[in-house]
Symmetry: C2
Subunit: 357 residues, 2 copies
């Protein structure tokens, strides 16, 4: 049977510690070339909505040790509005019932069969949270206890949960441009983590004195600046433009998520890549050559050293995703769903064929 | 609703003329940059079967004029046995009930929603058949009446149907190494096309005097050779190595399917690409630089001339697939399935999400 799971079901199954654990194993295998990712690609074309473009994104991964391969697909209508003077890339829930379209297809690398199909929303956040948690595990000071988080949106929750899994955190300050949203986030996370998460009115207030700074925004422009860097800090970013290049240059131990060259963006002749059109984000971050920096797989496998002193400033820039993250976390989802008998079972024959393809 | 279709259902819906028609439109748009393909990628890794590797292949396409995007995925166990001294790439039906795994996911480029999911087996052959039929339409002599087909396997049927759609064919000779298979093919196609399709004992017998030669094999080595080239012939190939470079050099008007750089093959550190390991096929064909040749989109759009005289030798080498072929033919399948009320309807909400991905 092929399992169809909902985000609610995936959410009920996944826990942060096991996501961190499986990704730690997988990054270690990645360093030895034992698993694979196919870099994200994005095909962009006009839609009939004058304010939106259609983007079909996909990324693949295969992890033989877990017996899985996966393809993650996003089929999005994208707009690029400006908020508070900052450009954002915003997905429009244009599918029926105002829904988004992001899917993970999990296959067996032993038989080829489709094991499961589930939306990517929950898995997507867990894999980013767990990835940056691994960065903090290897780079943040052991005695880190305070966190500043810049952002209160889709990614912020798992960023915070992730770092609280690998360090004993007791203080969290959150800033994001929208007061209502940051206060709601602080209230929700206070309950969830059973600690004081405080919303503050300026990013400087959040950041000053924090042991760990988590950038967790969807900004296309920098949100963390050089003067805010303090000795011993660990910085963490989930998008390339979040930390300004000047700030990155003040980091003693800068690690990037991956050496993959970055997503391939293809556009029709009558369309410009909206991010490129927005211009600033990518150009700014390109001042630093990420290819020459160590990557997370090096760090996890011991190929590059982690933090060496309490004074060092460390940073993980998680500038792009990897297909194998979905294979890894997907394998955990599938194993647990099968064990608990959760999800819709569809006949596997519906998704396989007698005919040679 | 999201439609799940079987190969039988797709087969009952598709007809060659409309596949040729939709692809003719799409290649014309491709020449103007109005639609997109993301080149095939393949992630290969060891499986637990010592004789097989796991390959996860994907390719994407977006066609705004048809309102669709598609991702085609193959999740295969591959072996590379040798038959009659020739290396073949053979997929093993390792999924439950001895089945293969090839899937097309069709999305709306207007809403992003998943419109349909169906196996790729039938569509895959129709799109290759229709593509090479377009080659014959623009390159073969108008009065072509005899066809030689080298191959009797998965692709041969639609290769023959395709060319019979664009030219008035009355004679067909088929050769393939296995007598039983070529005779069965000849018998089946005689009935289907209502004309004499004859199986012959040697490729030379098939080819001599033919107006059109269709290579329709899965060989990794050449199966058509330079001495067989005759004035006025149109050659057609569905795999890069089928026509030996010496024969290609005797072609007056050589057109390739696409200028895409070719599939990206990624392998784990402990695995060699089996095709590269086999060596010969690719290396041989690389003697001719396909990038400098006109492509099918040029031909269909009038950017490059078709055949200019009855004596010219013409050739289309369909050396690799394009994601947008699946979007194009998939759009036809979907439109007809909806009109006829065919397929399993699944709730679209199962494949979409409220959560921002």
């Amino acid at each position: 049977m092929t399992l169809v799971l909902s985000n609610d079901e995936v959410s009920g199954l996944l826990a942060m510690p096991e996501c961190i654990e499986v990704l730690e194993q997988v990054y270690s295998e990645l360093a030895r070339g034992l698993c694979l990712s196919r870099t994200t690609s994005e095909c962009m074309a006009p839609s009939k909505r004058p304010d939106a473009v259609y983007a079909l994104k996909s990324m693949d991964g295969v992890i033989p040790s877990l017996g899985v391969g996966s393809v993650r697909i996003n089929s999005d209508l994208l707009t690029a509005p400006s908020e508070g003077g900052r450009m954002r890339r915003v997905k429009v829930p244009a599918a029926p019932n105002n829904r988004y379209v992001g899917l993970v297809f999990l296959f067996s690398s032993e038989t080829g069969e489709p094991l499961a199909i589930f939306p990517d929303g929950v898995v997507q956040r867990f894999r980013v949270g767990a990835t940056n948690a691994l960065g903090a595990k290897y780079l943040a000071r052991d005695d880190s206890s305070s966190v500043a988080i810049l952002g209160s949106g889709w990614q912020a929750e798992t960023q915070l949960t992730g770092v609280c899994t690998v360090r004993s955190i007791d203080t969290v300050r959150c800033y994001s441009p929208n007061r209502e949203r940051r206060e709601a986030f602080a209230a929700r996370m206070s309950r969830q983590l059973d600690m004081a998460v405080t919303a503050v009115d300026a990013p400087e207030q959040a950041v000053a004195g924090a042991d760990i700074v988590l950038c967790a925004s969807n900004a296309l422009d920098p949100i963390f600046f050089a003067p805010w860097v303090e000795p011993g800090m660990h910085l963490s970013s989930i998008k390339r433009p979040e930390i300004e290049p000047k700030a990155l240059r003040r980091v003693d131990r800068l690690v990037v998520h991956t050496h993959d060259k970055g997503s391939t963006v293809l556009t029709t002749a009558d369309l410009q890549d909206p991010e490129k059109a927005a211009g600033k984000g990518r150009a700014a971050a390109e001042e630093i050559d990420f290819q020459t920096l160590p990557c997370l797989a090096d760090l996890v496998s011991g190929g590059t050293a982690g933090r060496r002193s309490d004074e060092e400033v460390t940073c993980l820039v998680n500038h792009m995703g990897l297909g194998l993250q979905f294979a890894a976390v997907g394998a955990v989802v599938y194993r647990k769903a099968k064990a608990k008998g959760i999800g819709h079972d569809l006949p596997t024959d519906w998704f396989t064929e007698k005919e040679h393809p």
